[in-house]
Amino acid sequence: MTDIPKPDETGSTGTQQTGTAGVVSVEQESPLQGLPITQIVEGLAATRSRSMGGEVAANLIAGSFTQLSHNFQETKQELQSTRRALEHAREELSDYKTKTAVLQERVSNIFRDRHLKNLSITAGTILIGLGIEFYRNNLEKTSYIVTGLGTLLIFLGWFSRDGGAEK
């Protein structure tokens, strides 16, 4: 994917402020409430009540449709919020899986790293010992190199971090 360009001059006046933190509340249904069938039945009950078995029967039928429509809309909204929660949970699960994989890798690396550290410290100590011996035998240049190398190895052993990413 192409990188987003960064303009030097945005043209903004700089007077904008941060908005409210909460999500905007909206009615997640059409402003024309209810299902089409409910609207039709309500319309029929209002205008052709006699054809629907009288005023009482027509109102009962219209009321039932409205109730069912209301229940249906509610269920739809619940389903939507459940889906959102599920999606959120999935994202979290994915994050934790990644973390677990990283941690597992770090644990498996710890033993290998520890052996390397110990080896490095041991080798460093031996080299420093050799360096001292070389110095005693008037091999100054060699002793400095060997001692320096030994010191470097010891420091590497002390201060090298355990493997694996931070996260």
């Binding site: 192409t2 987003i4 945005t10 006046t13 941060t18 908005g19 909206v26 389903l79």
Partner: protein, 134 residues
């Protein structure tokens, strides 16, 4: 409501959410189009790739032709429109300002909805017409 996808423009994303004067919706032109047919709404994310529009939140881009490869930055704050050519390319970057006093997209579930207008109707001033005919 089921409508077709918009393929000629792509919403690249919302950048610097909640940061005053920097919050912007970034669009990329996949082909030459007249922006006069398009606009943005603010919506709340719903299931899948859908969103519900928030009432009274609409920006019409205004007439202007953009070419393939051009970028359109819609800053939510106030400002002056700008158009620059990107270095070493022929791509242009257009900056449009919504003019909102406060940032809009600080919550990740608030999303931009790009829409295309295919038909409109403006009622005639009937009273004026009848006066003119007299």
């Amino acid at each position: 409501m089921i409508v077709g996808d918009i393929l000629e423009l792509r919403v690249s994303g919302v950048y610097d959410r909640g940061i005053p004067n920097q919050e912007r919706v970034v669009l990329y032109a996949n082909q030459t189009v007249n922006l006069g047919q398009y606009g943005l709404m603010v919506g709340v994310r719903a299931a899948g790739n859908s969103a519900f529009p928030v009432r009274d939140n609409l920006l019409w881009f205004g007439d202007g032709v953009v070419n393939k490869g051009d970028w359109i930055f819609i800053y939510t704050g106030p400002g002056v429109p700008r158009a620059i050519t990107l270095p070493n390319t022929e791509e242009r970057l257009y900056s449009i300002h919504w003019g909102r006093d406060k940032t809009i997209f600080q919550h990740p579930d608030v999303v931009p909805i790009l829409f295309r207008v295919d038909a409109v109707h403006v009622p005639y001033a009937l009273a004026t017409l009848s006066q003119g005919q007299k």
